[in-house]
């Protein structure tokens, strides 16, 4: 990728006495190094991409420390990597986006947890829940329960987060259980500071290698009969050991309060929201001094029954603040109180919503219910006024606006190579009729938004081809599967292509070959054009993905017979190729490779290059498309076929006409789609392509002046 993390890498080198300033996820990364981690792996995905991106770029420094960094092909391979800690005293950490990533990794996690680990294992998952999240279904918590792994949910304070990383490894080693750490989006991006420690080079590392492999030990295999023993160990030894460690080192925090006969149990990650909510109902101050005692669970699993019971016993009521469903913690607390015959009334999902992010307003609403019931003397006028005010104001704005505001979903970047393919697909369906479209995860999922609104299903990353296996045999017309190169390597190659070939399926697969896993932050993959290629390229503006043929050779090697590669910006050709695939007599797997390098990456490469050329006064050609306002018909068919942010509309300059005309605004990168669409779809003739030649050569200037004279003579005013 073209982004540089040099600044972040500097922060990783900080030592004792320094203060770290920056984002949460980078603090976690620093915490790993302070804990003497020996190997790090994972798969990119918001909100934890940075952890791996920075480590990968920090390779030289990692080599200094003897830390191995692996950019895994998917979460399953990342989880499997943790197998190193089963036999050896190696501290390992992996990271990915949850819940999706954890689902992909499930098998390896289960077989890692069964024999248990010797070296500490920390799995940093981005708990992608609430505002700005893309996969809010399911909770990572379920995996901690079913595979019996510890689940850390640290208070979103950088110092505490780093501290919990270090404890996480020790906890894992004490209990032989892998530890997961869940970080919510805002926690990953929170900007704060903490006092650093020196980084610890791992005792066993790439610089201090092991002489011999471990001896054979059947107990370390996830294989019967020992798995039966493992199941016993989980309950008899590992969980108790974990609970001992959690209690001894006070990983969960007890916050006293004046109303000692009440209490709130809260996930560490929700602590800040809870404190602000308590402030809003007048039960806490800005420094976290609270009237109601708190039990802050920096470890969400396992709970320490004694700790919870001691907290609850003798109280008039306890409220459990737990985000997401099902309410595992509340249920566990209810069970353990019942077993101990502790009669304290327990509240949670009866006062707080089961689904949705626990923002301050939501929490405060629940808290004021709790307070109203158990602190009737506590004045809540201001809180009630505030909540009521919000409701009324929203209603008032809605009525003032009359119509609902238009949404602004994310869309393809300016000049994105994937946009033209959806334009072609829209046109192809006019020729061959509508088709079932199995969509996938990746930037191309934006094709499900306006103006294209295409796609019938999204089953998972790289799953599109597999997800139509039951559809296409049942349908007269062929189904189309769309997949990115990211999804292809993540698992589309096996779950999709291999299966389709083996079953001799009549399927159409379109692979977006843009060279990177762009949606997660343009990380490199095996089919990314090499840096040397980028170096050698004379014209840095051109797309370079065609220089890497790994996907093509893989498909051929696997036995794909119908394979077409089309440059995405050639809309007409893409339309024809799609029609061929939909109507061809060949009944096997038909693969179309849509080739065009990610425009984000291209622009990051092009901008400095152009700047340097202009600085040296060299010739530069800048392309921009435009619309003739007096020719544009104001129907906006061009926009319905593009949606490019720079192809927008403005008031019609013609006083006779009322509908706005199309206009290409600054920022157009001259990708050529406007022109290609104008031809492919026979749009109105208002589009022009302008080539601006800066620092032209002398003969160019001469020719142009001569030509100009004649042209001007021909032109009317």
């Amino acid at each position: 990728m073209e982004v540089s993390f040099s600044k972040e890498i500097e922060a990783l080198r900080l030592g004792a006495g320094d203060t770290f300033h920056g984002e949460g996820i980078l603090a976690i990364t620093k915490g790993l190094l302070q804990s003497g981690v020996a190997y790090v792996g994972g798969y990119q995905g918001a909100p934890v991409s940075h952890l791996l991106d920075v480590m990968v770029q920090a390779k030289p420094y990692m080599d200094e420390l003897g830390v191995h960094v692996e950019a895994c092909s998917n979460e399953a391979s990342a989880a499997a990597m943790l197998g190193a800690s089963i036999h050896y005293p190696l501290r390992g950490a992996v990271t990915w986006k949850s819940i999706v990533g954890t689902n992909v990794a499930a098998d390896a996690l289960s077989n890692l947890s069964s024999p248990g680990v010797k070296g500490g294992v920390l799995i940093v998952v981005g708990e992608d829940y609430g505002e700005g999240a893309s996969v809010i279904q399911e909770r990572t918590h379920a995996y901690a329960l079913k595979s019996s792994m510890c689940l850390l949910d640290p208070r979103p304070d950088l110092g505490m987060m780093v501290n919990m990383v270090e404890h996480g490894f020790r906890l894992s080693e004490h209990s032989n259980m892998p530890c997961m750490m869940e970080l919510r989006i805002r926690t990953c991006h929170v900007r704060g500071s903490f006092e650093c420690k020196d980084n610890v080079p791992p005792p066993v590392s790439t610089r201090a290698l092991m002489e011999e492999p471990a001896g054979f030990d059947y107990m370390r295999l996830a294989h019967p009969p020992v798995t039966f023993r493992h199941e016993k160990l989980k309950g008899e030894e590992r969980l108790p050991a974990a609970r001992r460690y959690i209690a001894e080192h006070r990983l969960n925090e007890l916050v006293p309060g004046t109303h000692a006969d009440l209490g709130i149990v809260v996930q560490g990650g929700l602590y800040n929201a809870l404190i602000r909510s308590l402030q809003q109902v007048g039960l806490a101050d800005a420094f976290g001094a609270t009237d109601i005692p708190l039990l802050v669970l920096n470890v969400a699993y396992p709970l320490v029954p004694e700790q919870v019971a001691d907290f609850c016993v003798g109280k008039r009521a306890v409220l459990v603040v737990e985000e997401g469903q099902p309410e595992y913690i509340e249920q566990e607390i209810a069970t353990l109180l019942r077993r101990r015959d502790v009669q304290t009334p327990l509240h949670g999902c009866d006062m707080l919503p089961a689904a949705g992010e626990y923002g301050v307003e939501v929490l405060a609403t629940g808290l004021s219910q709790f307070a109203a019931r158990y602190l009737p003397q506590h004045a809540q006028d201001s809180a009630k006024g505030w909540l009521m005010g919000n409701r009324d104001r929203r209603a008032a704005v809605a009525t003032k606006l009359q119509a609902p505001l238009p949404n602004r979903p994310p869309s393809f970047c300016i000049g994105c190579p994937e946009r033209p393919v959806f334009a072609a697909l829209k046109l192809a369906q006019q020729d061959s009729g509508p088709v079932h479209i199995a969509a996938d995860i990746g930037c191309h999922a934006f094709g499900t938004f306006e103006p294209f609104s295409m796609g019938h299903s999204i089953l998972g990353y790289g799953m599109s081809l597999a997800s139509r296996a039951g559809v296409s045999p049942m349908m007269q017309r062929r189904a189309l599967s769309i997949m990115g190169d990211g999804g292809f390597w993540h698992n589309g190659l096996l779950t999709g292509v291999q299966s389709a070939l083996f079953n001799d399926d009549d399927a159409v697969l379109l692979i977006f070959k843009n060279g990177y896993t762009s949606a997660t932050g343009t990380q490199d993959i095996i089919s990314t054009p090499d840096d040397e290629v980028k170096e050698r390229a004379v014209d840095k503006q051109q797309s370079l993905v065609d220089k890497n043929q790994t996907i093509e050779s893989t498909l051929k090697g696997l036995g794909v017979q119908w394979l077409r590669t089309v440059y995405t910006y050639d809309v007409d050709r893409m339309r024809k190729t799609l029609n061929d695939a939909f109507t061809s007599d060949f009944n096997g797997l038909k693969v179309i490779i849509a080739e065009g390098e990610c425009q984000l990456e291209r622009q990051r490469r092009i901008k400095p290059w152009i700047a340097s050329l202009l600085q040296r006064g060299e010739r530069v050609v800048r392309v921009k498309y435009g619309v003739d306002e007096d020719v544009c018909n104001g129907d906006h068919a061009c926009i319905r076929l593009s949606g490019c942010p720079t192809l927008t509309i403005k008031d019609n300059p013609d006083p006779l006409k009322v509908d706005p005309v199309a206009v290409v605004i600054d920022g157009c990168v001259g990708c050529g789609l406007c022109g290609a669409n104008a031809h492919a779809a026979t749009l109105c003739p208002s589009f022009y392509r302008a080539e601006v030649v800066q620092n032209p050569k002398w003969h160019e200037r001469l020719l142009h002046s001569l030509r100009g004279a004649v042209v001007r003579a021909l032109q009317p005013a």
């Binding site: 301050v360 006019q430 509908d659 589009f687 160019e700």
Partner: protein, 538 residues
Amino acid sequence: MNRTQPVTLLVCALGGEGGGVLTEWLVDTARHAGYAAQSTSIPGVAQRTGATTYYVEVFPVPLAELSGRKPVFSLSPVPGTLDAIISSELLETTRQISNGMSAPERTLVITSSSRTLTTAERMQPGDGRADAQRLLDVVKAFSREHHVFDMGTAAREAGTVVSAVMLGAIAGSGLFPFPREAYERMVRGGDTGAPEKPGKAAEASLRGFAKAFDTVNTPRQQAALVTSLLATTANDVPSPQALSPAVACLFPPSVHDMLALGHARVLDYQDADYAMLYVERLQKVLAAERAVDPAGAEGFAITREMARWLALWMAFDDIVRVAELKSRASRAQRVRNEVKAADGDIVKVYDHFKPGAPEFAALLPASLAHRVTAWDRRRKTPWALPLKVGSHSVLGMASLRVLASLRWLRKRGNRFAEEQALIGRWLDAVVSGTREDWRLGHELASCGRLIKGYGSTNERGKHNLLHVIDHLAVAPLPDASPSTRATAIAAAREAALADDAGTALDAALVRHGAPPRPVKAQPIRWMKRQQDSTRRAR
């Protein structure tokens, strides 16, 4: 219990506007000034043009005076408790306000007046843009204090990105207890950069910073900006055009401005005779309107509307017209400005044309034209000639001029005759409708809006208009009172502009007791899949 609260700021930006840098500047400024601060963000897929928000909290008491205590900051903005919202896009500002974020008694709203239109707004066949005035009204009504200015322009003029402008606005508002220098130091590069001589980029950022700082700091300047902005939002005011007295005297003054424009358009499009035909047609409408509204109580609105739509239809777009418009010197200049070419630069302009058989047939006499179009229909895919004409080159310009000179041929062409016939049908409908009921006539006249553009768009428009005329204007509806028909026509017109598939239109037609439009035959390549058994036989 200590009741001091943090100062809270919500930042709304679009992907790639540097919101991350902005929050980093703010947090670092606070830190260097000795205050506790925290920022969080929801970047999501911001880089891909989506909306994104950042949230900043600063504790207003210096750390030194907190005797070691650390404030607990919220990670997410709390509706109704914000001290300020700053946003680089007007719709996003309003969105946050509609989420209840801004409280009229507490929140300062600083927003850009500029709009980045959403796809949903841009893709409508008509005008789908949200009413900017209404958005501004919401900002005014639900903020303690508001500053509205064009951040995009401010950034462009300073040669920087909008984040620097936003920082200046925040500093200028005095929201946080930091001096101006504290902010500027961060822009220069904070601890790392040398404050003495900042780099080119930093210089630009500082210019943008200063611009916004003054704008927000000096209300008078600001008020001026707003008023100028409000002025520009009112558009579509026809510019006065010379109108020959001979023509003018035939129509009431309230029609003159539109008439002048229309007359000039038709004259420029064809010739004096054609312009005269325009005037005669319009006189028919005027006569009809005078019959129902002699006093002109409605300001002769029907005639005025017809002056607009009749001119536009009579000057229908064809290759001759396009060649004319594209080959003008004024157009070449407009392109130079649009692509922001410097004096030394060479600009090459390539025009994308794809004339099909109908475009050429249009200029042929009926018999010949029909043969051409018939041949075209027999083809598997309609014939068309994709062209990239370099209007900067001699050959390109020459060919454009040759095409433009075919104006004489147009009048003899097949399409011209067809258009005149259709215009006639519409005109008659308007005239008879007007005589029946003023509103009915007015609605029919406004239907001229459906006719625009070239090729399929133009065909679709005419198809829709004729269907409306045949089934809503003329044919009696179940309840045939003129006013109901007028309402139905208005509804149909709006629906016709909703989507190009015409789904909304058909629905509207049916709702008002008229038949939906007949399904148009659309040839598709049919592919019948072989049964599995035969496939396996391979």
